[in-house]
């Protein structure tokens, strides 16, 4: 993998003794959209803050496009733009001057055409001379995005980009992200909304209690998502599965009281009718039937539950 960001053994223990992040290893491919999924307090923001240089890691190394974030911070940081979770903006500045400030701070020469286009893309151009305090919450968030993109970063971090955001901004955000992606910007977002990860990401990482539990292609996760389960509660418990049921993917559960059938919901033939017919032929009666969809959410909950 051509990784633009390489994280090795990064951990953080706060001075209070709280262990926010255990040893995390992660590689982000150039140009991908990566979603970091996890409950509140999982360590998502800590990890992002470490990569951006706001929090000092206790252990580990970070390479940004080959530049060590600790030994060569200038090169590393120039490549990164961060949209934080909280809307911290300079209330008395105008939109234009704050974007100009951000660009300068990151050492880039002013480029009016680029900044103009950026503000237009974010529908901020009409508000360029307005003081930020006059803007709505959603508009302030757009300002933060404009600031993060002002220096044309290769990697954009979006920390909880759609938390408390209205539908139109959400839609614009999607558009912006896909636009950035087509220009080759790598995007890393954190979220606790699974739909957001499903909708946007190429790969998903699940983090909980400071540990990265799983990193996988979203499509691979979606395949698992396609799996369904049907559980039959039997009238009489079985001591063993009859050999006639071997062609279905079934197993016996709860000391023979239940039969569980796992199938692919997207397949043309689910095999349910034939299985039920066969059970009737064999004289196996059941008193209850339920089906369940395993979603990304289940995978996520499973991982997080097992972790506790």
């Amino acid at each position: 993998m051509d990784s633009i960001l390489s994280i090795r053994g990064v951990g953080k223990t706060y001075s209070s003794g709280h262990r926010a992040l255990e040893s995390v290893d992660l590689d982000i491919a150039r140009g991908e959209i990566f979603a970091l999924l996890g409950p509140n307090g999982a360590g998502k923001t800590t990890l992002i803050s470490i990569i951006c240089g706001i929090v000092t890691p206790s252990t580990g190394t970070i390479l940004v496009d080959g530049h060590d974030a600790r030994h060569d911070p200038r090169e590393a940081r120039m490549r990164i733009g961060l949209v934080p979770q909280e809307t911290s903006v300079d209330m008395f500045e105008t939109v234009w001057s704050t974007v100009r400030f951000s660009r300068g701070l990151f050492g880039k020469k002013m480029d009016k055409a680029y900044c103009e286009q950026l503000l237009k893309d974010l529908t901020l151009w009409d508000k360029r001379d307005a003081q930020i305090r006059e803007l709505s919450g959603g508009m302030k968030r757009r300002v933060l995005i404009a600031k993060a993109l002002s220096h044309e970063p290769d990697i954009l971090f979006l920390d909880e980009p759609t938390a408390g955001v209205d539908v139109s901004l959400r839609r614009d955000m999607w558009k912006l992200v896909s636009g950035l992606r087509s220009r080759g910007t790598t995007i890393i977002l954190t979220t606790h909304y699974i739909e957001e990860a499903e909708e946007m990401a190429d790969r998903v990482g699940v983090i909980d209690k400071g540990r990265l539990l799983l990193v996988d292609e979203k499509s691979a996760l979606m395949k698992q998502l396609g799996k369904r389960e049907m559980t039959l509660t039997l009238q009489e418990p079985l001591s063993a599965l009859p050999a006639e049921l071997a062609e279905w993917n079934v197993d016996l559960q709860d000391e023979g009281h239940r039969i569980r059938y796992t199938f692919d919901a997207q397949a043309e033939h689910t095999g349910i009718p034939s299985l039920l017919r066969k059970l009737g032929d064999l004289g196996i009666g059941f008193k209850d039937l339920e089906t369940e969809k395993s979603s990304l959410e289940d995978i996520f909950v499973d991982l997080v539950e097992n972790d506790r």
Binding site: C52, T56, R77, S88, F92, L105, F106
Partner: protein
């Protein structure tokens, strides 16, 4: 960090100066009015009784002290607010994540704070010249003290801004430490006029050396030797620079 992010320094400097320009009339009117009031009260009321100190007309005598008083207050408040405010509003995240070294950050913030103080110092000097005749003996020394004091105390303010966790703490040092020290530091009198032991006690007040050096630049006479004053001022600057370097190396009160 390797290299030098000049654009970053300039961005911070411009940002801070723009903040001052938004309230330019307030920033300038306050020192002009205050100085005029001091002249009316001290120069008018006391001047008629004291007349001269060390052969200098009392009205003129208090000018260096008055400028120094405002310079210290302005430098500390400008220097501290510049960095405290981003901490308070949360916008400090951007500074911490930017490819800018600690010293570049200091240069931008402290440079702007010191510029503002120097402008105010000059405005007070101009105001004062309406009230009294000033014959400045060492103009270059005046400029040097203006520069050194503004930088040193803006830096001191910057440290205060990093240290402070609340607005109360931010105001604590200027109001309860610096202002009393300035008033007791010979801004309005020569410490030679004090009875013992207060004269000796005064020598432990750092502001005495600043006022004395500044007064020497104006009238060629000071309470302590000019070399000691200059040494003290540069020494204070060096101490502040060292503290700043340690703060940034450890990330104290800025980073987790």
């Amino acid at each position: 960090m390797k290299g030098f992010n000049a654009r970053g320094v300039l961005a911070i400097y411009r940002f801070e100066m723009a903040r001052a320009l938004r309230t330019i009339w307030q920033s300038l009117a306050a020192p002009v009015i205050t100085t005029s009031l001091y002249f009316v009260v001290f120069g008018g009321a006391l001047g008629s009784r004291i007349q001269t100190v060390d052969g200098t007309d009392y009205g003129a005598f208090i000018v260096p002290g008055l400028i120094m008083l405002s310079l210290l207050q302005q430098s500390i408040s400008n220097g501290s607010i510049g960095i405290y405010f981003p901490k308070f509003t949360g916008t400090v995240f951007e500074l911490l994540s930017a490819p800018i070294s600690s010293m570049e950050m200091v240069l931008g913030y402290v440079g702007a704070a010191a510029t503002k103080s120097m402008v105010i110092g000059l405005v007070i000097l101009a105001t004062a010249s309406f009230f009294v005749d000033l014959n400045i003996h060492h103009p270059w020394a005046v400029a040097l003290f203006l520069l050194l004091t503004s930088f040193a105390f803006s830096l001191f303010g910057f440290i205060l801004g990093i240290w402070a966790k609340s607005f109360e703490q931010l105001n604590f040092v200027p109001v309860l430490v610096v202002t009393p020290l300035t008033f007791l530091g010979g801004a309005f009198y020569s410490i030679d006029m004090l009875p013992q032991p207060w004269r000796t006690v005064s020598l432990f007040n750092p502001v005495v050396y600043l006022v004395s050096g500044f007064r020497w630049s104006f009238f060629d006479k000071g309470d302590v030797d000019i070399a000691i004053s200059l040494g003290f001022t540069t020494g204070f600057l060096a101490v502040c620079l060292t503290i700043i370097a340690i703060i940034f190396r450890t990330g104290w009160r800025l980073k987790n």
